[in-house]
Symmetry: C2
Subunit: 365 residues, 2 copies
């Protein structure tokens, strides 16, 4: 059986004003269906795992929402971090808790706020990666690039096997490149997007964590040992604040790649990290002119698009939204804040959020 | 003394969703100051006339709002039409009521929903036109064109006098031209914009009305005769519905021009008809990048413009409005409806209103 770990953290500032600190993007139905991103993440694992073997790692502010959005999950499978300590602590906690149940279990780790268009293709890549994981590799799923994206990290891969085996060695984790380097990466066919999806045996991962981050490993093991008993909160309160804040890429994966322990299966399944409204508009189904209406409750009749193209509308206030003669514009209409943004500038929504924070307008964050 | 008549009718569909049937544009502060367009119209006549000599012609739906926005006006000076019968009946009623008080009075007629940037220049043009009116002409104030506008009618003028007299004969009222013809008009320097501002002696106007529209003239005279007595409502109820629905241009001015009775004084005082949000953005003061925020109650802090230029924002819902990377975009944010429109397409806002009407969404009209 595969233990699936869903990481439900992060706030998605580039999706403001829809995504807020109190209601981050994974809790929103940004999928083109009534499912939230979190629910869609769980749904696409159906057939690979079961609710009993699915765990969500989340923060104290969102534990209740996660529990309600995924009612089939056993309560003990919702791992609530007392405070955010970055991805290595989150993933490591899940690995250690799983190891308490089944020391050599197969574990997959998935973001809660990504979209996948082709679920069967996704599942077959996960199955192929699981083979590598069972054989003792730290597997990562690499996305075959469709453009010279500068917003993602890349995986530098070894040669394609001649025997048809889809598994390729990962030689290096490359930082977000500049435009020129991104072009070169994509042209070379030797690089994949790092989508932060991992598969491994928990014993293999924890051994590598122990080798590279011995204190973090020891702390997580002590917490996990108390997880199913009366001392969970006490141990968490004592140890969690002392844990190193570091991403799993830096803490474990880069060092493991240097040792030849990391491999990947390339995937092409319409992956999108839902980083901003622009890419969201690209991946979701639109009308004949490319307009995408992202409505939670099917109130699309309340949007009037007059001679407009490639517009993304997120109507969430219940008001009438009328667009006239627009091209490549994002409109996000919420109860207390409205965003109108050029699609090419969707990354800069973060700057508005930063402005609001620095001016003390916390009610909008 | 000059009797000033302000015509407070029309709804301004191209200013939707700000301007609504129940709250038309002249009642809104679209002036860059706290004054509404109606109030600004009255204010710019200060020095030319007095509240006792100022009359407003308006409809039943807006009489109360007009009375409150212009508290200095005597109640009898608010002429309430039982139903709209176009501009000839409105202007003719005012002329006939004034004639009851002072048969050869000087009268000026002004729209309630235009903007004038340079009030001293406006007043000096009105004074010059008043000279022509006293001499027995039907005077119209023509606006010196600043562009080949196809949205306005034009006045075909006679030669400029060699003695410095600013008054020019008006030979013809020309309909809204196509682009080519508009170019030719502006190049010729023989055409002015028809801004529907008139000055005349009421005896001269009423005589021309009697000659060209004898029934309309007779009906208006009978209503006016009863205006200051107990039979006003009875006469209005009996006669008003029978009056011909026709504009004063068609009914009187075109025929009078053919007889050599019409003249004009050209004006250049930053006139704007506030027809749509695009031209409004052109005429009102903006920031260094041409962005105009049209806020009623000085809540400009609630608009964030991030790297945007030539944006017109009308924030009227109290919500935060954030613009990112926009150019030439109009954002009108009201309690129940939001408009986002390309500035070059501002005329087409009317099409949205037509759509709403034909789909029965009357709550938004």
């Amino acid at each position: 059986v595969l233990y699936a770990v869903i990481l439900a953290g992060g706030s998605g500032t580039r999706l403001w004003p829809l995504s807020r600190a109190g209601h981050p993007k994974f809790l929103h139905p940004l999928t083109g269906t009534p499912s939230t991103l979190l629910q869609a993440t769980a749904e696409r694992l159906d057939g690979l795992t079961t609710p009993e073997s699915t765990m969500v790692v989340t923060g104290v502010a969102h534990a209740a929402a996660v529990a309600r959005q995924l009612p089939d999950l056993p309560e003990d499978n919702i791992l609530v971090e007392p405070a955010p300590r970055d991805s290595c602590a989150a993933i490591g906690l899940a690995a250690a808790v799983i190891a308490e149940r089944e020391p050599a279990a197969l574990m997959g780790s998935f973001a809660s706020d990504h979209l996948v268009a082709d679920v069967p293709a996704f599942q077959s890549v996960v199955r192929a990666a699981a083979d590598g994981a069972r054989a003792g590799k730290l597997m990562t799923i690499g996305i075959t690039p469709t453009r010279a994206e500068t917003g993602y990290g890349y995986l530098k891969c070894g040669a394609v096997a001649s025997d048809g085996n889809p598994i390729r060695a990962v030689e290096e984790f490359a930082e977000k490149p500049d435009a020129e380097r991104a072009e070169a990466y994509v042209r070379s066919r030797g690089y994949l997007w790092n989508a932060s999806m991992f598969l491994w045996r928990v014993d293999v991962f924890l051994a590598e964590l122990a080798r590279q981050q011995p204190e973090l490993h020891a702390g997580l093991r002590r917490i996990a040992a108390a997880w199913h008993g009366p001392r969970r909160e006490e141990r968490l309160g004592e140890i969690w604040p002392t844990l190193k804040k570091i991403s799993v890429d830096y803490a474990v994966m880069e060092g493991a790649a240097a040792e030849g322990l990391v491999a990947t299966v390339p995937g092409s399944f319409g992956w999108n990290d839902v980083g901003d409204f622009h890419t969201l508009g690209d991946v979701l189904p639109g009308d004949a002119r490319g307009n995408v209406i992202l409505d939670a409750d099917d109130a699309k009749g309340n949007v009037i698009l007059h001679d407009s193209a490639d517009v993304v509308v997120v109507p969430r206030s219940g008001r009438l939204v009328a667009a006239v003669g627009l091209t490549d514009i994002i409109i996000v209409d919420t109860d207390d804040a409205l965003l109108v943004c050029s699609r090419g500038r969707a990354q800069e929504v973060k700057a508005v959020v930063d402005d609001l924070r620095s001016s003390g307008s916390v009610e909008y964050l």
